[in-house]
């Protein structure tokens, strides 16, 4: 039968092609994957004294006998800052597994000694080494305020005049550099907003869209280990083209009124003690007032307002706040394009 002949010839060709294959099996060996773990080459760094201010890069190298889930942790001895890098491979390639001085968890690294630990999931071995940071990382972004020179001249600060109001630059516990901005106090009447700081901005050179444009800021909370109930940072971003501060008789900038294009985001609640560094994509901001086209356009941003707010103790809203100071201090406020600052 002709058909059968054709089939047999074709089958022979197919099997011939198969026979040419030199692969023993596809993928990594299961026996090795599930077998005993072995370190072929322990942890090494390419630079044990990096100066990140001149763009030094530290590479990490290690080799195992199989592909594993590994975690590399660099921790500053002085600051306690931690950079965590994870991966799944049988080898840490020093060209690919690198550290450029950033952190995964604030505070930021300073010039300090660091411990480096490499651990493998489900394995008891820990590989260790050390390095010393000779110069700290200069992050790329569009700075709003780091308060190193005090409150920026063009910024506007307003706060209520109740108890312990602190809307000023302080030096006792900065996140980055020497200064930070305190926002806190205790409200004596039925008012949520304690105070605010407004900054004018010109971001016309920005090309990123809202999904890829991030507001980054550090928020410090917890006065003497105590937290006020429902305290939060209210953030307003304006795309209004109105003058920033023509009316000097109101309590802030003029570009956040209800007839203007304003977007809002709340870091709420601020319920942690110490610093936390937050990154918010601009696309996560909601429309506060429908004064514009409702399209978040980073290049059109003209001002930002950072407000300290909290549930008031008055009128039995949050009576427990009568004895607690609200604290939502800020530092190192910066916009970044394409990625959050801590991912740099």
């Amino acid at each position: 039968m002709n058909t059968l002949r054709i089939f047999l010839i074709a089958l022979g060709m197919a099997l011939g092609l198969y026979a040419c294959s030199t692969e023993e099996f596809e993928g990594p060996s299961i026996v090795v994957l599930l077998g005993e773990f072995d370190i072929l080459d322990s942890l090494r760094v390419t630079d044990s004294n990096p100066d990140f201010s001149v763009n030094d890069v530290v590479g990490f190298h290690a080799e195992f006998n199989k592909e594993v889930d590994w975690t590399l942790v660099i921790e500053g001895v002085t600051t306690g800052s931690r950079k965590v890098i994870t991966g799944f491979s049988s080898r840490l390639d020093s060209n690919a597994v690198v550290w450029t001085g950033g952190t995964s968890q604030v505070p930021f690294f300073t010039t300090e000694d660091c411990t480096v630990e490499l651990t493998v999931l489900d394995e008891p071995d820990t590989m260790r080494t050390e390095l010393t940071v000779a110069g700290t990382r200069v992050f790329e972004g569009i700075p709003v305020a780091d308060f190193e020179e005090g409150i920026p001249e063009e910024a506007l600060v307003f706060h209520q005049f109740s108890q312990n109001m602190t809307f000023e630059v302080a030096q006792d516990d900065p996140l980055m550099g020497a200064n930070y901005f305190k926002m806190g106090g205790r409200m004596g009447w039925n008012e949520w907003m304690l105070g605010q700081i407004d900054f004018p901005l010109d971001l016309s050179a920005v090309t990123a869209d809202a999904e890829n444009f991030y507001l980054n800021l550090g928020v410090l909370s917890g006065m003497d280990g105590a937290l006020a109930t429902d305290q939060y940072v209210n953030i307003l971003i304006s795309e209004s083209t109105a003058p920033f501060n023509d009316n000097t008789f109101n309590n802030g900038a003029d570009v956040f009124t209800t007839d203007m294009e304003v977007y809002k985001y709340q870091i709420r609640p601020v319920d942690w003690i110490g610093w936390r560094y937050v990154a918010i994509p601009y696309s996560d901001f909601e429309v506060k007032s429908q004064g514009g086209d409702n399209v978040r356009t980073p290049a059109d941003i003209s001002a930002i307002r950072l407000q300290c707010q909290s549930c008031p103790s008055a009128n039995a809203n949050c009576p427990e706040n009568a004895d607690v100071d609200v604290r939502t201090d800020i530092d190192f406020v910066m916009f970044t394009e394409n990625a959050p600052l801590l991912d740099q």
Partner: protein
């Protein structure tokens, strides 16, 4: 469904429409689909209390898909499907959406060349362009038809075709010598447009082109040649990599008559190659190709059938290389990659656990289904389908298959048996090969006919068993068995009113290794998994058929999973469903 961009789709229709506006013999007609859907889900008996999930929740909508057919000239038709959907609870227009769901212009040029532009439903062969059935659908009873109708309709699944957007044309020629016909078909579609990865990084357009030539050689022999290419256009994006996945296929069929039997013999084979092109233009270098795989397939089959069609067989052998990659034929309907959240109670046990996917999700959640061709092998669940998870084109399989159909002369009953025995061609993670066995059977008894009743009484029972094993190295051993039982009844209790009941139960025990692949389809690692699952759906309801095109269905179902895992509690839920469907 996401709202589509109306303007680009309307443009061809408007151009054609305006060009022909001077015609006076225009014909317009309408058809479509209307559906009212209401479901109420409730917590059932749980292993552990669930105090954070609502005890019950309801969802529903009304929709109307209005198809407008305009025939502005002879042999020319413009088709538009507009969807108006109103979610229950929407008030004063809130929750109401209006979408253009489909648009197509089609016609015949000079009574010879047929063409279509817009939304196309395309299928070629099982190894080049084909939309294989979803998992666990075999043997399913009539009681679950309302669910399946919705899943298929919402995902544009029609006869194993993929819905693609582009242009298609075909024409044929007839001869009176040894070559009787020559048929040509060609298409160019865009399954996916450029997508933004970051503000400066865009994926290129994904296109699929294809063509076929088929010829009837004499009375008994038919020859086919198919070609498809799933590829990306580098210039339409800013990434430096683009896909190439050409597949060619040739087949020959011959039909003979032997006494009371007709026998169709067929042999077919093909070659596929897939690689990514890495552009080095910015560095001034030449393009390079990477992640290259290639492979062949071959299939020989025979299909004897008695002239009275009471008996038919379908059997053959098949070999599909490990490197045979055909995005058009190996893309799965079910997207079990975890990117689509489950629609009903996605978490449970006080939101401590993500609920594992269950058999009911495959039936009731049209969102877990996929409409996009995939260039790489998609994830699958070995409990639901492990023998041929990518249909007949599943790579790394060789073996035999058999199907037997037996039908009663008066249509009182019919029986279907399916079987297959396959093995891997190359091992995964070990030189040892998996062995696969598949056996499925279904008996449908039209008891009403047998007993001489005037009303319909249909009973069906089906079983579907898959067995996977791998011996050799104990660390890499595999032993997984899965059984699915389907029992259904459809009884006409009054004129056009049917009482329906169905049981669907799945049991699986054993172990398997889940294959994890990287973005280029290469195996990254294997994850060992143990399974001891018992999954069930019990359903009872009423079906009223106003006509063949109009029905109302109300049914109550209980479903859940028993996982035999102390760390993962069992779960059970209930659902009340009402569907009123009208095909206009």
């Amino acid at each position: 469904m996401k709202p589509v961009r109306v303007l680009p789709l309307l443009l061809p229709a408007l151009l054609i429409g305006s060009a022909l506006s001077a015609q006076t013999d225009e014909t317009v007609w309408f058809d479509g689909q209307s559906r009212s859907f209401f479901s109420r889900d409730a917590l059932g008996e749980m292993d552990r209390p669930d105090t954070t999930s609502p005890r019950n929740l309801s969802e529903g909508y009304n929709l109307l898909d209005l198809n407008t057919h305009i025939e502005p000239a002879e042999n020319l038709e413009v088709f538009a499907q507009l969807r108006v959907r109103n979610r229950f609870g929407g008030f004063f227009g809130a929750g109401t959406t209006i979408d253009v769901r489909q648009l197509r212009a089609s016609g015949v040029i000079q009574d010879k060349v047929r063409f279509s532009i817009g939304d196309l439903y395309l299928k070629q062969s099982r190894f080049t362009l084909f939309n294989p059935d979803e998992d666990l659908v075999r043997n399913e009873g009539e009681a679950f038809r309302a669910y399946r109708d919705i899943v298929h309709y919402e995902n544009f699944y029609e006869d194993n075709r993929w819905r693609l957007q582009g242009i298609q044309t075909d024409f044929s020629m007839r001869f009176d010598r040894s070559i009787r016909t020559l048929e040509f078909d060609a298409f160019l579609t865009r399954p996916r447009g450029s997508e933004s990865l970051t503000s400066t990084l865009f994926t290129p357009d994904l296109l699929m082109a294809g063509g076929s030539v088929a010829s009837q050689m004499g009375r008994k022999t038919r020859v086919e040649l198919n070609w498809v290419n799933l590829f990306e256009v580098p210039s339409s994006g800013t990434t430096h990599q683009s896909l190439r996945n050409p597949v060619v296929r040739a087949g020959i069929e011959r039909q003979d008559e032997m006494g009371n039997w007709t026998v169709r013999h067929a042999v077919e084979g093909g070659y596929a190659q897939r690689h990514w092109l890495f552009s080095q233009l910015e560095d001034g270098g030449a393009d390079t190709a990477g992640y290259r795989t290639e492979g062949v397939y071959i299939e020989l089959r025979s299909e004897p059938m008695r002239l009275d069609s009471l008996w038919s067989f379908h059997y053959g052998v098949r070999h599909v290389d490990p490197g045979f990659r055909s995005g058009g034929a190996q893309t799965r309907r079910l997207d079990l990659g975890g990117s689509v959240p489950l629609m009903v109670y996605p978490t449970y046990s006080d939101e401590v656990f993500d609920r594992p996917v269950a058999m009911f999700d495959l039936m009731a959640s049209d969102g877990v289904y996929n409409q996009m061709l995939s260039a790489t092998l998609m994830d699958f669940h070995p409990v639901y389908s492990n023998v041929l998870p990518y249909g007949d084109a599943t790579p790394n399989r060789q073996g035999v298959f058999l199907q037997v159909n037996r039908r009663h002369a008066q249509g009182e009953w019919d029986v279907q048996l399916d079987g297959g025995a396959f093995r891997e061609i190359i091992g995964q993670g070990t030189p040892d090969l998996r062995q696969f066995h598949l056996l499925a059977g279904r008996l449908a008894w039209r008891a009403g006919r047998t007993l001489g009743w005037n009303r319909t009484v249909d009973l069906a029972v089906g079983a579907d068993v898959e067995q996977t094993s791998r011996t050799g190295e104990p660390l890499a051993a595999v032993d997984l068995s899965r059984r699915v039982l389907d029992v259904s009844a459809n009884v006409e209790v009054a004129d056009r009113l049917f009482l329906q009941g169905a049981i669907k139960r799945l049991d699986a025990q054993g172990n398997e290794f889940i294959t994890e692949r990287n973005g280029f389809g290469s195996i990254r690692t294997f994850r060992a998994r143990e399974y001891d699952v018992s999954d069930h759906i019990l359903s009872a309801g009423l079906w009223y058929a106003f006509s063949d095109a109009v029905y109302a269905n109300v049914q109550y179902s209980g479903w859940g999973s028993s996982l035999a895992d102390p760390l993962q509690p069992d779960f059970n839920y209930r659902r009340l469903l009402f569907v009123f469907s009208v095909r206009l």
